[in-house]
């Protein structure tokens, strides 16, 4: 029997399951269709497992330098099986939590692959969904008034560099590694690539990053890139920028050999494995878009500011619509879409208020415009920068490299962007995000009392530095 719903969500990743919970809170009869596991990329192949591994790597690196602080260990080693076990346990715990939340919200979960049908006997409008069930039973048909497509994304690969589980990996396979390789080439120095570089290097792996752009983490402020580059190099990560990899030169055998054109000169790179981290592709195939008027632009589903596709009752959110492919963006898009469906008047998302984090060691985090972006947009900018070297708590942590940089508008005095690199900055970015939402001036942020001795003092000082009034520099 075909079930009817107010809302059916295709894909139970971060975007999808958060949308489902909000829908249930708003009284909508809701179902989620998920072909793998609720929680999606973020919980099973992304944010959470990667951060769990990063933490183990950081603890390893910290324990090794304990002597500096008077804490000696005879030998520090890694039990990688245990590292993976802990990661799996955390994922398992959160996975249970999400399943529980679905039950509690009385949200039906269909375990299978959904495909949108065109107009049919079930409905004159496209949007009915046929679910090919994982358990092999007959397809279920669900008839929704509204649909949210939240099918997410998958790692992009390059022709000739498809993952083979042995030599060529994407993050999906790398997260499941049973042993650490001795050496690895990471193709792509974006956020995910740099997290891997930092983690593996902290674990003692010999890492080489090959980045096409002229700097690593090219989406971040230039000074952040530069500091990250410096600190990665200090760890022993080798980095080639302005480097175009030549997939056709790949040789596999005892390891991999591949060449790249680095600033015009062809160079050979060797390692045990190669990790391809060159971006993500939206999952828009095989879900029946051809049965609808929905448009795909540059590989992503086209939507308006309330996330409606060309079929106004079918919405799309998260990684499958492109843009900032981040979990918290997917979640918020889901909430906005649901509230719009429920006839509320949600405020539109201002993407310049979204913070981005990199959980490498050191961490980096930012919100708003970089200095260059602000200048390109025609702002007259003023900049305040404050180093962690003058922050007592950073010295206490033994991690005093890095800084907080605030970009402000000379004319209106509004904060346009905040960029940080250093210890625990991902915990500190919330304050900066709030300051952006408030359209706060540097003075207002400086006026907020930051407790002593904490890392957050660096934000207060950077805000003062915008007008040349920092106390500690």
């Amino acid at each position: 029997m075909a079930q009817e719903y107010d809302l059916v969500i295709l894909g139970g990743g971060t975007g999808g399951y958060v949308a489902a919970i909000r829908a249930s809170q708003l009284g909508l009869k809701t179902a989620v269709i998920e072909k793998e596991k609720l929680g999606g990329t973020c919980l099973h192949k992304g944010c959470i497992p990667s951060k769990a591994l990063l933490r183990s790597a950081e603890v390893f690196a910290t324990a090794k330098r304990g002597e500096e602080f008077g804490v000696m260990a005879k030998e520090v080693s890694i039990n990688f099986g245990k590292v993976q076990e802990r990661k799996n346990k955390i994922v398992g715990q959160l996975y249970q939590g999400v399943q529980h939340l679905m039950k509690q919200g009385k949200i039906d979960v269909y375990k299978g692959t959904g495909r949108i049908l065109g107009p049919s006997i079930f409905s004159p409008m496209p949007g009915t969904i046929s679910v090919e069930m994982n358990n092999g039973e007959e397809n279920e048909i669900v008839i929704p008034k509204n649909v949210i497509i939240a099918t997410g994304s998958r790692p992009r690969t390059l022709p000739g560099l498809e993952p083979d589980r042995e030599f060529v990996l994407t993050s999906d396979e790398a997260l499941e590694m049973e042993f650490l390789p001795k050496s690895i080439i990471i193709l792509g120095g974006g956020i995910i690539g740099i997290e891997w570089a930092s983690m593996l290097s902290d674990f003692g792996v010999d890492v080489t990053v090959i980045e096409y752009a002229e700097r690593i983490i090219p989406t971040e402020d230039k000074e952040i890139s530069r500091e990250m580059h410096r600190q990665m190099k200090r760890k022993g990560v080798k980095i080639a920028t302005s480097a175009k990899v030549l997939p056709e030169t790949l040789q596999k055998g005892g390891g991999v050999i591949i060449s790249a054109e680095v600033k015009g000169v062809q160079k050979e790179f060797k390692a045990e494995k190669i990790l391809v981290s060159v971006g993500r592709l939206a999952n828009v195939e095989g879900i029946g878009l051809e049965n609808t008027e929905i448009q795909v632009e540059n590989g992503c589903i086209a939507v308006n500011e309330y996330f409606q596709t060309k079929e106004s009752h079918i919405y799309a959110i998260g990684d499958c619509i492109g843009g900032l492919q981040l979990a918290h963006v997917a979640a918020r898009e889901g909430i906005v879409a649901v509230e719009h469906i429920a006839g509320q008047n949600p405020s539109r998302i201002d993407y310049s208020l979204v913070s981005k984090c990199i959980y490498s060691n050191p961490e980096a985090a930012s919100v708003g415009f970089s200095e260059d972006e602000a200048k390109e947009k025609g702002y007259k900018v003023k900049v305040g920068k404050f180093s962690f070297r003058a922050i007592g708590k950073a010295l206490v942590f033994g991690e005093s490299d890095g800084f907080v940089k605030i970009v402000a508008d000379e004319e209106t005095d509004d904060i346009l962007g905040v960029h940080m690199i250093g210890p625990h900055v991902t915990d500190m970015i919330s304050e900066a995000g709030l300051a952006r939402v408030l359209d706060a001036s540097p003075w207002e942020v400086a006026h907020t009392i930051h407790p002593h001795p904490t890392l957050s003092e660096a934000i207060g000082e950077a805000a003062l530095a915008v007008d040349g009034k920092a106390i500690h520099s």
Binding site: A52, G70, S77, I90, S430, H450, P453
Partner: protein, 469 residues
């Protein structure tokens, strides 16, 4: 005035170069004043030399030791982990030295005159500064008193080689086997906790019915639980009576539940509060009024009863906190420069570097009730936060206090990892007059601890995503 003693003239004279004084001096100089700062000890005051920084260094080293010992649970095996305490002390000293050196450089860079010696008021425009072999008179237009505080000594328990104040406790050269800490305030809990992390057997005696006065029971309960895990014992409603020194240790006598008991220990830490350094300043010669505890009376602009003399930090009313001292220092400097600045204490956070960390800003639920404000207190646990799980520290919670009628954020308390860094956002929210809805609407990055703030706000609104209602 002594013949031949030519007074040196300055515009703003700051007495004491702790976090109150040196910040006031730098701000005053930035605002165009000619500034002189007098310090009888070391630049940086209690905070940098024998307070916040060295205590956090010991706590941090203690954490390192514990993390290394327990890291097999996250797949890292550290064999034979040991503490070389003299090395810990060396490292601690190096951190202090870097920071005090830094402050001295900053004062000079801002053209503040640093004078070594002890200042004493002669009248409302004059101090005499004495060091071992000379004395000099200074005339000022405005003065800022920032002479800080010192540990209180109990009449029946005098400081000695084995009866230590916080300064003595910070500079031990070995990890004692047994310590008794008298006083379960934040200094006692932090330092007792640090030594417990290093393996000392610690007993904390607290006269009140709970430790960490001012923090709610649900928060102190977490701290007590972890202290006990480290083998520490906490005895509340316990009055320390006296100490008998023995050859290699001490016996502390205390009374609890009407009974007198003894504990043996290697050292006793007496951490029962601090008193202001206002007794040897000649305040009466300048006409500055103090209360019966020696606290200098000030108005909202940090002005004392003498209009050209200001006082800040531990010598005035309020919590003994470094950032409060610095904040008051900036206000005093601004007022002297003719700005119309005023103190607003609601946004001053207090933090305890216990395990887990505690932080609080603005109203607690019970304070709000006392003041007759109807509030919603919304709780969100660290255990439902992915980042906390990945960091392996998922105990604790945030409590957000919002006004019932309009949702205004008026307070927040956090117990959990990085609470001290997370509280800054809540301070900003309070300062900016934000509501729970504003906080919920602000997209917080995933996976960060900051999401807890957003989710607590959603709990306040009745629409939490990641916990059940």
């Amino acid at each position: 005035m002594v013949v031949g003693d030519f007074p040196i003239e300055t515009e703003t004279l700051v007495i004491g170069a702790g976090p109150g004084g040196y910040v006031a001096a730098i701000r005053a100089a930035q605002l165009g004043q000619k500034v002189t700062i007098v310090e009888k000890g070391t630049v940086g005051g209690v905070c940098l030399n024998v307070g916040c920084i060295p205590s956090k260094a010991l706590i941090s080293a203690g954490h390192r030791y514990e993390t290394a010992k327990q890291s097999d649970s996250i797949g890292i095996i550290a064999e034979n982990v040991k503490v070389d305490f003299s090395k810990v002390q060396e490292w601690k000293a190096s951190v202090v030295k870097k920071l005090t050196g830094g402050v001295e450089g900053l004062l000079k860079g801002n053209k503040v005159d640093i004078v070594r010696g002890e200042a004493y008021f002669v009248d409302a425009n004059t101090v005499r500064v004495m060091d071992e072999n000379s004395a000099q008179t200074y005339k000022f237009k405005n003065a800022i008193i920032a002479t800080g505080s010192r540990p209180i000594e109990l009449p029946s328990i005098k400081f000695s080689k084995r009866v230590l104040d916080s300064t003595g406790a910070l500079s031990l050269q070995e990890i004692p086997n047994k310590i008794v800490v008298i006083g379960g305030g934040y200094i006692g809990i932090e330092l007792g906790g640090a030594y417990a992390s290093f393996g000392s057997q610690v007993t904390i005696l607290e006269a009140a019915d709970d430790i960490l006065h001012g923090f709610e029971k649900q928060m102190t309960a977490l701290v007590k639980r972890n202290l006990k895990k480290k083998g520490a014992e906490i005895i509340t409603k316990a009055m320390a009576k006296g100490v008998a020194e023995k050859e290699n240790g001490v016996v502390v006598t205390y009374e609890a539940k009407g009974e007198e008991k003894n504990i043996e220990a290697d050292y006793v830490f007496v951490m029962v509060g601090r008193r202001p350094n206002t007794d040897e300043l000649g305040l009466e010669q300048a006409g500055i009024e103090v209360n019966e505890k020696g606290i200098i009376k000030t108005d909202k602009q940090c002005r004392t009863s003498v209009s050209n003399i200001f006082a800040i930090g531990d010598v005035v009313e309020g919590l003994d906190l470094a950032h409060k001292a610095s904040y008051e220092g900036k206000i005093a400097a601004e007022v002297i420069a003719g700005h119309n600045s005023e103190i607003d204490y609601l946004g001053i956070p207090s933090v305890v570097f216990s395990d887990p960390e505690l932080a609080s800003v603005g109203y607690t639920e019970s304070q709000a009730k006392e003041d007759g404000i109807e509030v919603i207190a919304a709780r969100f646990p660290f255990g439902a936060n992915g980042r906390a799980l990945s960091l392996n520290s998922s105990e604790g919670f945030m409590k957000l206090v919002t006004r019932k009628d309009d949702g205004l954020v008026i307070g927040a308390q956090i117990a959990g990892p990085s609470a001290s860094d997370m509280i800054a956002e809540l301070g900003l929210a309070i300062e900016a007059g934000m509501t729970a809805e504003d906080l919920a609407m602000t997209i917080h990055a995933h996976p960060t601890l900051g999401e807890i703030t957003m989710e607590a706000a959603e709990v306040a609104l009745g629409t939490p995503i990641h916990i059940l209602k």
